[in-house]
Amino acid sequence: MYHKEKSIQMKSSASALYNNLSVLRIAPRSLTYFTVVHANMVNMVSASWDGLNYSHRQLQSKEANVATSSSLIMQAAWCVLPSRDILVLTSQKGIQMYESDGSIMVYWHALDTPETQTAQAVFARGIAAVREKYICVGISSGSMLVFDVPIKGSNITLSEVLEEHKESITDLASECSGSLECIADMVSADDSGNLCVWKSGEDFQLLNKIPGFDMSCSSVKLWKGTVVAGYGTGQIRLYEAVTGIVHAEVNAHARWIYSLDIAPFSGLLLSAAEDSLVRVWHLTMTPETNSVEVTSQTIPGRNLTTPRTHRQTLTASLPLSPSRSCTCITSV
């Protein structure tokens, strides 16, 4: 189960964006990195496990040299690949990739921005590391960029552009259970709630398309071949990735879900929404019957119903490591 640990204060508040907290555990150095996006900046803090040392860093969005407006960052997330960890920032101008401590930018990809402003916004959003060497990033047009990442160095190349979604990409997720048996490697979600399930490779292959119901899916996870999707209506749905069969439907929150996360080994799912609540669920897979059971969990000793006067907006939630997890609750 979860227990609350020491709170960490970020340098500035979290912006109202989906999936706005990314965490990277570095076991060999007993450190954890956290990032939270604040407008055109990313606040990064590195915290030692003994809770004694904190060091802060800020990364700025890169503005292309044209006379257009400032570049707000949509998302920051670590991509964990076998040989290296890359920090990816997606903004209105493009995609920045850094070495894991944020010290060196190793790659910059500029988005095609039209000369004059169009009604359709332009930005990149949705980040996932897939298998050994791919980093996928979504675009507001619905396209997805697949980058091929070498073991080291900055020779990152754009390998493929996937054009399947017609609406803005909201989130991407890769299979997080660690199992090599799973056929599906990645799931992508968009503003109309459509979900696409992919197999990675030289050419990414579309395995399945799960139709939405005209409601944005803002956060998505892929675990043991199950897609877990959070929607603007506050509902969470679980689907079998490859077939699209609905396993479960949860009326989880009273407002828009902003973030989901799964602890891969325990099957604990966290959902955070604009109703100011973080909820914990337990997912149990039964392969024989091909079913998934969902139960609600309460964190022992912690009353989710805190006094009304202290309720603040939740704009971030937490990625989980196998044994530990942490919440970051910040207000706008």
Binding site: S15, F123, T170, M215, S216, V250, N251, S296
Partner: protein, 382 residues
């Protein structure tokens, strides 16, 4: 982010401004004909055809400075005058009220209903003036045309754009504090009771299905809140019940308008880092601003008899005190622009251009000339 945010920001802030001014005009017992003239003049300027044309074009939001300048101009579009302290307070109230409305909207799409609430009230203010009324009606049509086809995700992007614009603003407003919708630290309270938004189910149910789609199990859980049902959907047409109460007039003569300056050094550091980064589009934005100003006809102040001053505070002494004691981090830098063909005024504009890019008091004379050219050309054309 979203390039469709500015019209909503402008109309809603304008609406809040009118509520507050209306309340103050009554509280100060300004003669009815003068009060009505002020309201009419401001609304006429707000809904000026050329102005709205510019506003509705796809564009990023203005900087806070630029937006404040627009509202300064708007507030002075009539015979009414406001001192610095009162204008600051007016702007604080307007922005915090709209921030509250954006944050508490049940669905992102309901921002449009909030806008219609403001529009409905504005329409009521000018119901006896057919010329303005037709402009207001035209704006309804533009809003409906532009926004009703948008998806939930696009509305959420607009909402996120607005929340980022209002980020770190925590001015305490006494009405909000009294009603317990704002905490003493300036943050708004999100309720976990009341009806859930239209289209959402009350949290509490888990349904599990078999492979062929049959429901095999149901589980209930305690949602920790006190949700009482589902909201009906409000009307997105020119007339109709909006259902959402956010955006309706919360002021009355008996509910005073007060703000508290709750500045702490922590907040000021945050504000500085976001606002003072050099803005490469300063020229672009000023050009836009100039076009907007050109569309807003300025009323000559008139003779001393018809003009009057409105105070947002209870007494003149309080107003003076507020100006002196306002913490630095809350001061609004306003660009003073006069849209006249006056040569001197144009020179002033060039100087201000320098100010805007330098973020300091010193004009940047050498490089200002080329940047100023476009702007001068534009001003000459007005």
């Amino acid at each position: 982010m979203s390039s469709r945010t500015l019209p909503l920001l402008f109309i809603n802030l304008g609406g809040e401004m009118l509520y507050i001014l209306d309340q103050r005009l009554r509280a100060q017992n300004i003669p009815a004909d003068k009060a009505k003239k002020v309201m009419n003049d401001i609304i006429t300027t707000m809904f000026n055809k050329k102005f709205l044309e510019e506003l509705f074009k796809p564009q990023e939001l203005y900087s806070k400075k630029a937006l404040r300048t627009v509202f300064d101009r708007l507030a002075h579009a009539s015979i009414m005058r406001l001192n610095q302290a009162s204008m600051d307070k007016l702007y604080d109230l307007m922005t915090m009220a709209f921030k509250y409305q954006v944050l508490l909207c049940p669905r992102a799409k309901d921002i449009l209903l909030v806008s219609f609430n403001h529009m409905d009230a504005i329409k009521d203010f000018v119901k006896d003036t057919p010329s303005v009324l037709s402009q207001v009606d035209e704006t309804y049509r533009q809003l409906i045309e532009m926004y009703t086809p948008l998806s939930s995700g696009e509305f959420q992007l607009i909402r996120q754009t607005l929340l980022i614009f209002f980020q770190d603003m925590h001015i305490r407003v006494s009405i909000f504090l009294k009603d317990k919708v704002q905490n003493s630290n300036g943050r708004f309270v999100l309720p976990i009771s009341g009806p859930v938004p239209h289209g959402t189910h009350i949290p509490g149910l888990i349904r599990m299905f078999s492979c062929n789609g049959e429901e095999v199990k149901r589980l209930q859980f305690r949602n920790g809140g006190n949700y009482t049902g589902v909201l009906r959907e409000g009307s997105f047409e020119m007339f109709g019940e909006r259902v959402i109460k956010l955006g309706t007039n919360m002021y009355s003569v008996s509910r005073p308008v007060e703000t508290h300056m709750s500045g702490t050094s922590k907040n000021s550091a945050q504000k500085k880092s976001v606002n003072t980064a050099p803005n490469p589009l300063a020229k672009e934005e000023l050009n836009m601003l100039a076009r907007l100003m050109g569309g807003m006809e300025v009323q000559k102040p008139g003779n001393a008899d018809s003009g009057f001053r409105v105070n947002l505070f209870a007494t003149d002494e309080e107003e003076e005190e507020a100006l002196i004691s306002r913490p630095d981090e809350f001061s609004y830098d306003v660009i003073k622009i006069q849209a006249t063909k006056n040569q001197q005024a144009n020179a002033e504009l060039v100087k201000i251009m320098g100010d805007f890019t330098e973020e300091a008091g010193e004009p940047c004379s050498s490089s200002a000339n080329s940047k100023g050219d476009d702007l001068l050309a534009m001003m000459d054309g007005l």
